[in-house]
């Protein structure tokens, strides 16, 4: 480098200096760039043109709609193939009757905890560890999670996600975040736990706190969406639209209330690439196996806890105490209290529990929709709760819970009103 600079000066200087002046630095940059940069007219390639079109709002938004449609259609078809095609018949027609007959002590406390209702016609309604627990964990949630992470990894590896971040940057700025907030948001549609960790990509404390709170309150995880898709397929888009409405409205309010900076960012957009199947498989497996290790024990343990609370009469006591709020403000019967307790442990299982109640005739379709929304915006699941604590500390966790309480009553009541007006 010294030789290069010295040659520029006609080789007059003998001794190297430890620091360069600004002019000398620019001269050095010029001389290096002359040797390493090829100059000429850049010819756009097809990839460049498609890349440009992906980030321009007029063309990028329709493409984003198409990608989201593809994401959703793949998710539905893939999860439906395993769940409706094989898991539901296998669990309901073969496994459930067999375990109901084989497990000893029908009607006893252990039977209720492990098998559930002895007369239940489906695994959704039985609510035992070995019936609903295994069915929801492996028959419903696992296919949904595999489908979700597979598509997410493909989108990451093709280079579409950074383009989506550029495209939605303006929208996210309106709520005090920036385009990269789309990454934790999409991750959260798989599982809130890695998404809360991913909120570190945001620069300021204000942005990170807002992101974690919004994810914990409004974004349902893939497992929960998988169960919702099984129970209320025709209403899932409307429920998700409502939750995203809540996400943006609350974000806009928080952006004005919380002090702090919301800086601009520069995003490095890589070129479009074909994903390498081996990398896709490795990343998908790493995410799915992490999810299984965390979710399956929580689902099974959650059922044990909730069944114990039922047996001890705690849930009935809570249902009686909270009945006025539930019936008047949210328009749902007090039996949903059990599902909300479960939601703190596993939200997917809580939605499954609501499905069982609906199948048993305890909830109408409208009440089921409102209850599903309540489960979504209610307390984050235990794993997310711990993650919020770890990432933000006790003070931020308490502030998040305050936001959650207000959102729960506002958006829960609003959903009640919408369902009543729509006459569902």
């Amino acid at each position: 480098m010294w030789e290069l600079l010295n040659r520029e000066r006609g080789g007059k200087r003998k001794m190297p200096r430890t620091s360069l002046s600004v002019d000398e630095r620019w001269k050095l940059i010029d001389s290096i760039s002359k040797q390493v940069v090829l100059r000429g007219k850049y010819k756009h390639t097809l990839k460049d043109v498609i890349s440009d079109l992906s980030v321009r709002p007029m063309t990028g938004i329709p493409l984003a709609l198409a990608v989201l449609f593809g994401f959703w259609a793949f998710f539905g078809a893939f999860a439906g193939f395993f769940t409706d095609g094989f898991a539901v018949p296998a669990f309901d027609d073969h496994f459930l009757p067999a375990i109901q007959r084989a497990f000893p002590g029908e009607g006893g406390p252990l039977y209720w905890i492990f098998v559930g209702d002895p007369g239940a016609p489906s695994c959704f309604e039985a609510f035992g560890v070995l019936t609903s627990g295994l069915f929801v964990a492996f028959g419903v949630v696992l296919p949904a999670i595999v489908a979700f992470y597979l598509v997410l990894t493909i989108l990451e590896d093709t280079g579409y996600l950074p383009r989506l971040a550029v495209l939605v940057d303006t929208v996210f700025h309106k709520i005090g975040l920036h385009g990269f907030a789309i990454v934790p948001t999409i991750l959260s549609l798989g599982c809130n736990v890695p998404a809360v960790a991913a909120s570190r990509v945001l620069e300021t404390k204000k942005q990170r706190f807002m992101m974690m709170s919004l994810l914990a309150v409004f974004i349902p995880c893939g497992a929960q969406i998988g169960v919702m898709e099984e129970l209320l397929p025709e209403y899932v888009p409307a429920i998700l639209a409502f939750l995203f409405f809540g996400y943006f409205v609350t974000g806009a309010v928080l952006s004005r209330l919380i002090p702090g900076r919301s800086p601009e960012i520069l995003i490095d957009v890589p070129p479009y690439r074909s994903p390498i199947m081996k990398n896709v498989a490795t990343k998908t497996w790493a995410r799915v196996s992490g999810f299984i290790k965390m979710a399956v024990p929580a689902v099974l343990g959650g059922i044990v806890v909730v069944n114990l609370l039922y047996l001890l009469g705690v849930i009935d006591w809570l249902a009686d105490a909270l009945e006025p709020i539930f019936v008047v403000w949210f328009g749902v019967p007090a039996v949903t209290v059990g599902a909300l307790v479960m939601a703190f442990l596993r939200k997917d299982m809580a939605v499954g529990m609501l499905g069982g109640m609906a199948a048993a005739g305890l909830l109408t379709t409208g009440e089921l929709i409102t209850s599903v929304v309540l489960v979504s915006i209610y307390f984050p699941c235990l794993a997310t709760f711990i993650m919020l604590w770890k990432e933000g500390g006790v003070r931020d966790l308490l502030k998040s819970l305050a936001i959650l309480t207000v959102s729960f009553f506002v958006f829960g009541g609003l959903m009640h009103g919408i369902v009543a007006l729509a006459g569902v």
Binding site: K43, H44, T45, L46, V49, I50, D52, L53, T59, P62, L63, L65, A66, V67, F69, G70, A73, F74, G76, A77, F78, G80, F81, D84, G85, F86, V88, P89, A90, D93, H94, P237
Partner: protein, 141 residues
């Protein structure tokens, strides 16, 4: 000459795609049912309709400058959107063709019947849109 023919071809394909998209948007509106005529079925889905409509608009917009990389890119961009919808339709059919609904595998007749008509507009338009690869190769030459 082949680029002039290509422009005309993609202009027509784009307009047809746009029209099908418009039809899907209309059938996706509340209170209107989907259309099914012989081998063609227009699903009542607003979301799909909007995507196909824009795909048609982009294919048409690029068709008039097909020799230019930007025009070709625009038509390719529209075609990609169409392929996403058609790809989803094909994938859904594959997933539906394998199980028999009772926990087992489908019979050969049941399996083949899943691939029969009616088809969505995206599936009809898919093979015609693949012609874009010929022009991509031509421009790359």
């Amino acid at each position: 000459m082949k680029f002039k023919l290509g422009s005309a071809y993609f202009a027509i394909l784009g307009v047809i795609t746009l029209a099908f998209g418009g039809l899907e948007v209309v059938t996706g509106l509340p209170g209107i049912e989907g259309l099914s005529t012989g081998a063609l079925e227009i699903p009542p889905d607003l979301w799909r309709g909007i995507i196909i409509f824009f795909a048609g608009a982009f294919i048409t917009a690029g068709a008039f400058k097909l020799r230019d990389i930007h025009g070709l890119g625009m038509s390719t961009f529209g075609s990609i959107m169409l392929w996403i919808i058609a790809g989803c339709d094909i994938f859904t059919r594959i997933m539906e063709s394998i199980p028999n609904g009772a926990g087992g595998l489908n019979s050969l007749e049941g399996f083949l019947a899943t691939y029969g008509p009616p088809y969505s507009p995206a599936l009809f338009l898919l093979p015609f849109s693949l012609v874009i690869f010929y022009f991509i190769k031509e421009v790359e030459k």
